[in-house]
Symmetry: C3
Subunit: 259 residues, 3 copies
């Protein structure tokens, strides 16, 4: 691939100089990289929020993209550094569940990063993003194979996202996160439900719509989100503000008798 | 142009993964693009704020730059997707007034984006930034002409910015926005007034200065802003905080008798 | 150097269109530049905060990198625009102490930027970042020598960071800043102290640890930070929130009798 892409997902905070340090290491290894910030607004140590961010955006990137993920509360401890190949993409980060979404893909493979010759010296105890993950991500973007940077493992820590419960004519999931508009994304695949289902979020009924702009202002809306999951919104308003909560709110879909 | 520039202006929020999705589509189309964030801090659905941001920064970019603007409350409805060519630059976004500043340029031309073969499939109902505007912006940056991506229209929605009122020895405008220093920009061209004019903002008198650093601390200042419009500031302070308001505050300039 | 790097450090605010204007000027001069945001979250006019941000990240970048620093409360006054070469890097910004960290490097050289032919015309009074510093930074990144852009000076304004006080078995410094995790960095080089020293911050004792993940939750921790300075932290918490203060808090290290 010409000008390979490396994306960056961290909990360092928007505009943190730590992000610049990751980029310094990546560009020192390969000045032709295309660096893209996926997000740095993950709440500190929130593995689940990082997984949600990756879920929505990672698979929009072209084959060969390397996703560098540094949400790493266990930095410097015995938690393993890993890389995962899935659907033509590569994910690099700590083995704490943050790469769990990638591991769900059919054919996903994982390695523990154990080629110390690729790392930055001296290895700090508190910033493996800069000293270990970024140098390995650069090598992977430049063409090293997964096997060149680590040894296969069979037991990476799986996704920590909540699992959808399915019964006859019933799907029960939950709200995972809010975006900056206050729209709420969930863990229910949009393909599993449609206008023939009644949807309630935190006990309140939501009305089906196709997009925000042609919906009535006021009621809670549900629609197929652009990430492929059921979404809760309010036209020209914030569902997150209305419901006073985001992650964890139960989302229940029931096939209506008329449906 | 070598390495064409595409800028991004959205209301997605700073560090939103949606911005990364726009970049994924742009770089998948053309890895040599130079992507520049213009701003993603536009308040949700604020067409006017986006127009102000573009007014200040868009024309600093070199000829050939494509400005991708996704402030799109009507996404998925009948609002038209458009592109505008003005002063050697190209603007891509929804037909809701957000490209109004570009349309004011002499010789500006507009097309409705109707070449569906250029779009991403399937087209979502809620994210035309990713599925329609970004792919078209990439093609325009790579050399397609305006006529290659759409059909000419004569009636794009004009600027929503307030118009300046001019009378003999009097110019009346208003504050449009505050920057992060609390400096206020307006719609009054700096070239129309000078130290021979008395300036009041929200009824309070402002004192002329050339730059912040050589002005007295305390009083409201007025000066020619770096964007070419009359600016209100406070030396080492925030005019926005002092005046307790930003957009909409009346700004009146009257030629003084001594002037 | 292929694709030279220019970093940007400003107090313009995260996602400010002013940052985009800097990038417009840099890319217009040289489309092959690699632009990296170091941070734009410096508090307005805080020279010291900018120096701390640069201290941690600037020297991670490869030789040849140009660091463009625009924290410039004296813009348009008689303060000098300067450039500093230090340890293979180049720093460009106002002569107000913001480049003080670079000036501490052995062999650092400074010039006043006085080659007006390199600047943008007309020069504004309030945005030398765009009109003077960015064009000069682009030229330096493309290979101009320090002597090509200015005249040597011997008296640039030095670092404004507080100096560490050292006595027998005692080092007294202070907290300089908090990162987004609430970890506190200081001016005490980590190499000067170790587990044989008692550390107090703002009068509270801190416990030595190697990294966050293997430390007890609750107590104040001290450790060698990834930037090479003594750091104060709380495992899975915020030391900044706990101590209710950040910059200026005294940090005292005393060699313990057992040490």
């Amino acid at each position: 691939m010409r000008r390979p892409i490396v994306t960056l997902t961290t909990d360092f905070g928007v505009s943190s100089p730590y992000v610049a340090e990751l980029k310094a290491v990546l560009l020192a290894a390969q000045p032709e990289l295309n660096l893209v910030d996926l997000t740095h607004a993950i709440p500190a140590r929130s593995i689940r929020a990082a997984e949600v961010a990756l879920r929505s955006a990672a698979f929009t990137f072209p084959i060969g993209t390397v996703h560098l993920v540094v949400v790493d509360p266990g930095v410097g401890t015995t938690r393993r550094p890993i890389a995962v190949a899935a659907r033509g993409l590569i994910f690099v980060g700590p083995d704490n569940g943050v790469l769990g979404r990638a591991l769900l893909e059919p054919g996903a493979r994982a390695v523990v990063l154990d080629r110390k010759a690729l790392w930055r010296e001296p290895l700090s105890s508190t910033f493996h993003g800069r000293d270990l993950f970024a140098p390995v991500a650069a090598e992977l973007a430049c063409g090293l194979a997964l096997e060149d940077v680590g040894s296969a493992i069979a037991d990476p820590i799986p996704s920590t996202l909540p699992v959808v419960e399915r019964g006859p004519g019933r799907v029960r999931g939950e709200v995972l996160a809010a975006d900056d508009f206050g729209n709420l994304t969930s863990n229910i695949p949009a393909a599993e439900v449609d206008r023939g289902w009644r949807v309630t979020v935190g006990g309140s009924a939501a009305t089906w719509c196709r997009t925000y702009g042609d919906a009535e202002r006021g009621p809670l809306l549900c629609l197929a989100g652009s990430d492929g999951y059921l979404e809760i919104a309010i036209a020209e308003g914030s569902a997150a503000a209305r419901l006073g909560a985001t992650a964890g709110l139960p989302l229940v879909c029931e096939r209506s008798e008329r449906g």
